[in-house]
Symmetry: C2
Subunit: 523 residues, 2 copies
């Protein structure tokens, strides 16, 4: 491979999915993984298989169905973790096991309650065990940037001796500055010359706003894999944004000299899909994928832009797939046109799924003058949420006024196919309908977060609602899409309730090991 | 001053306010400026006085009322701009004029349609003219990072000779990498030794995700002023985030050795205020001020955090004012308690304003069990929007169901104190009420964007709606707060309509100069 080609390792489905309130089901994870493959990422970290049966199932499904990228599963440096990861990724074209253990004293003492000697032993055993299942083994010394370089080097030497092919240096708590991070990598190269024979990787968190700069500093110090996530999601302030590091390397190839295999025109769509399925909004001023990143309508810079694009634009919006997306359907468009349009968007839909999508499309087309590519994306991702849905919204009536308290009546179909009806007078129409759903389903769910966004612009935009609620100690999210925000909100609430109920049931099952793993820190 | 003390120059109200869809009135700008003073910023760039009469008025009001920081006004390198800026900042304790002109050939040729010689002449005249009004003059060579270093140095030499006391080097298009930016500054120090006698400043945009890293690189190369904005708002992907650069310098003072005068425990509140008044959401994974930046409820890192805070936390949430904010009022709290609570939050409210706030507080307290500090902030900032409001919402009734089209009736009081009534059957309840408002006011406004957020958590959260609409070619935003999202949406729409109408009227006035200036690029 070209020595200046940088491997893009996407951890949206692992580190990103660990963000509070995100709960993707297997169908949603598969859809994201397929889109990541279209985007051209080199490695998909699909999950942490031992963390839960759902995680295992999703990693296995992605390993079996997604073609192109390496599929990685995360595992602590413990035999049961590695065996579970190996089983999950076994059917991938190119499987990888990514195993990790902390090398910082603060983690060894307080979090692992172990010793340096034991860490070395665990790393050795873990890499050797992983290597017995797959050739492609990645090892991460967690919290490396706060660890002793000499001790970390000893552990890396062991991992390489046991056959690790990628060594990843996580800045787990987002603490390093670019010079420190690059200096740390250079020191490791000195201490472990065998590092030149494997792929060095960077994994940076954005707690101080430096994730992209630290990743870049790492690449310039010799790393050739960058771990990153779409929209920069992940623990706390998240990981380095995939779109930022990729567009930085592309836009400044003149100065930096690196390349990636990313199909940049898929960036905008991938960002929208991840935002929609996770319910994590992208702020308007987010680099590359924020609504304003390419906005010159403001008038302020328009003058210069009109005279010569490059006066104020260093990137072209078409590069990331933001423009040229002028596919439009109307209420008279047929099933064939819908199917072609969906294929153009990368969705392969047939049979009953196509019938369902067409029915939804017609409902929306009746209310909207034109249905755009972005509307279709929202509808299709909305459909993805239905597979596991246990409650469904049948009908509702809400009376809203500022002259009397709002009142909602709602009918919900339960997983047992029973129609239940409830009503409530609330503080607002959304409060009223949420509590009416609680009343109908006899659940004591509590709303934690609620958000509504317009999917597309204009008076007849689709509204997308996101709900995070808590039921019996489990929190879960749900989304809904409609031209009616009350309907979108009710859909989102019913789906969140369904997700929460599955979590409550899973937690009630006697799987103590799972509960323990969910509390495990990761890089 | 301590040679390692970094001056924090906040441009939230200038570069930030230029973001599409933000339209703050003078009261709102004053409130933000007062909060910036509490936050301890050294310089407030309050606006671009020649851009519009509204900009001028706001800069003047801030110069007159806000104590503590230097108050700066922006001006192109032209006499009328400088005179207008001088007039606006005249009454400040410590006024500054910030004048700029591009030094990159691409800007000189395509945007200014001028020559290098003319740029030198303009810079000389502008700094000299500014200096005749104030001692404190800042000069920026716009697009410097894409300009010839030698030519930029010539222009800087001229600016310093004429008395500029701060020289700011903007990375206007967010193109530089940290090494390039630091290298450019070092080269300028070589070419212009007199730079050591003035304050060197950095102004970095985040187009490639490097604004904070570039700012840090600049400080390490000798700059002692950082231009930044709350929540990183600003043109396109925005400016360096104030909160990120400040917390980076604070948290890593061990390694970096710099300090600022920022009162960090005011950061969270300032971020919320700016987000609420601008309608610009902060994404959950935003560093420092995102909802998840300190989130450990995820369970994943909780284990380590419980054992020892520093295992996964490099900053304490109380440092930025996120916790310890346990002020709570209830429906039985009186006027005195409200006033004390507001004072604790930094709002000085008396007389009629206190009566109005108390009435709003009681309305909310009737619907919510407890009113928290964050609810109060939202209410008070909501009140700020009323002063200039020209339409007011009187009452509304909406019938919402998925079994028939939603229907809205609404009554609005016009600026002429007339009650007008309208109704509409729409695609959704929000669409219906918005169009009913159009029908009542006989305005053909078109919705461009719409968003609803929960201000605080829990079932009885306040909802905050943001609307951007377009009326006769002018776009404007409005916000509304209520426990009822339909009411919040209608309030936001009515306020956006009022703002748009004022813009339409202003545009109709024969002020060609204003219209031209609004299209002017800035650093």
């Amino acid at each position: 491979m070209d020595p200046d080609r940088v491997i893009i390792f996407d951890t949206t489905l692992r580190d990103g999915e660990q963000s509070p309130g995100i709960s993707l089901n297997t169908t949603e994870k598969l859809e994201i993984a397929n889109q990541l493959a279209r985007l051209g990422v080199d490695v998909i970290e699909a999950g942490f298989p031992i963390a839960s049966p759902g995680d295992f199932e999703a990693v296995q499904a992605i390993a079996r169905e997604v073609q192109g990228p390496v599929i990685a599963g995360l595992a602590r440096a413990q035999a049961p973790d590695i065996e579970r990861a190996a089983e999950a990724v076994r059917d991938a074209e190119r499987p990888r096991i990514h195993t990790f253990i902390s090398t910082s004293d603060i983690h060894i003492e307080h979090q692992l309650q172990s010793t340096r000697e034991d860490v070395k032993g665990a790393a050795r055993a873990a890499v050797a065990h992983a290597k017995s299942f797959v050739d492609d083994v990645e090892f991460s010394p967690m919290d490396a940037t706060r660890a002793d370089a000499e001790f970390t080097a000893e552990v890396l030497q062991i991992a390489i001796d046991e056959g690790a092919t990628t060594i990843n240096i996580p800045d787990t708590v987002g603490y390093a500055t670019p010079d420190e991070y690059a200096g740390f990598l250079r020191r490791l190269y000195e201490l472990v010359p065998e590092l030149h024979g494997v792929v060095l990787s960077v994994h940076c968190h954005d707690d101080l706003g430096l994730a992209v700069a630290n990743s870049l500093a790492g690449v310039r110090a010799g790393a050739r894999q960058v771990e990153c996530a779409i929209n920069g999601i992940g623990e706390r302030a998240g990981n380095a944004s995939l779109e930022e590091i990729v567009m930085l390397l592309e836009t400044r190839a003149d100065h930096l000299g690196f390349s990636t295999g990313i199909v940049t025109r898929e960036i905008a769509r991938t960002s929208r899909m991840v935002s929609r399925l996770t319910g994590y909004v992208v702020q308007p001023n987010k680099a590359i994928v924020g609504r304003n990143a390419f906005a010159h309508e403001s008038g302020i810079h328009q003058d210069g832009v009109l005279k010569e694009r490059t006066t104020f634009e260093i990137m072209d919006a078409t590069t990331i797939g933001l423009e040229g997306n002028d596919l439009v359907l109307g209420k008279h468009s047929g099933r064939h046109a819908l199917r072609s349009a969906l294929e153009e968007l990368g969705f392969r839909i047939d049979g009953q799924a196509l019938n369902t999508a067409f029915k939804r499309f017609k409902e929306i087309a009746d209310r909207k003058k034109t249905v755009t590519a972005m509307d279709l994306e929202a509808l299709v991702t909305d459909e993805l949420r239905d597979e596991l849905r246990s409650y469904t919204l049948e009908w509702f009536d809400v009376d809203v006024s500022n002259r009397r308290p709002p009142h909602a009546r709602v009918a919900v179909r339960t997983p047992d196919d029973e129609q239940v009806v409830g009503d409530f007078t609330g503080d607002g129409p959304v409060d009223a309908i949420f509590r009416a759903i609680n009343a109908a389903t006899r659940r004591e769910a509590r709303l934690r977060e609620f958000r509504i966004d317009a999917v597309t612009g204009g008076q007849d935009a689709l509204g997308e609602a996101s709900v995070v609620l808590e039921l019996a100690g489990q929190s879960a999210s749900g989304q809904g899409v409609s031209t009616d925000i009350i309907e979108a909100a009710a859909q989102a609430y019913v789906r969140a309730l369904s997700n929460a109920e599955r979590k409550v049931q899973a937690a009630a099952e006697p799987e103590a090991a799972t509960a323990e793993v969910e509390l495990t820190p990761t890089p």
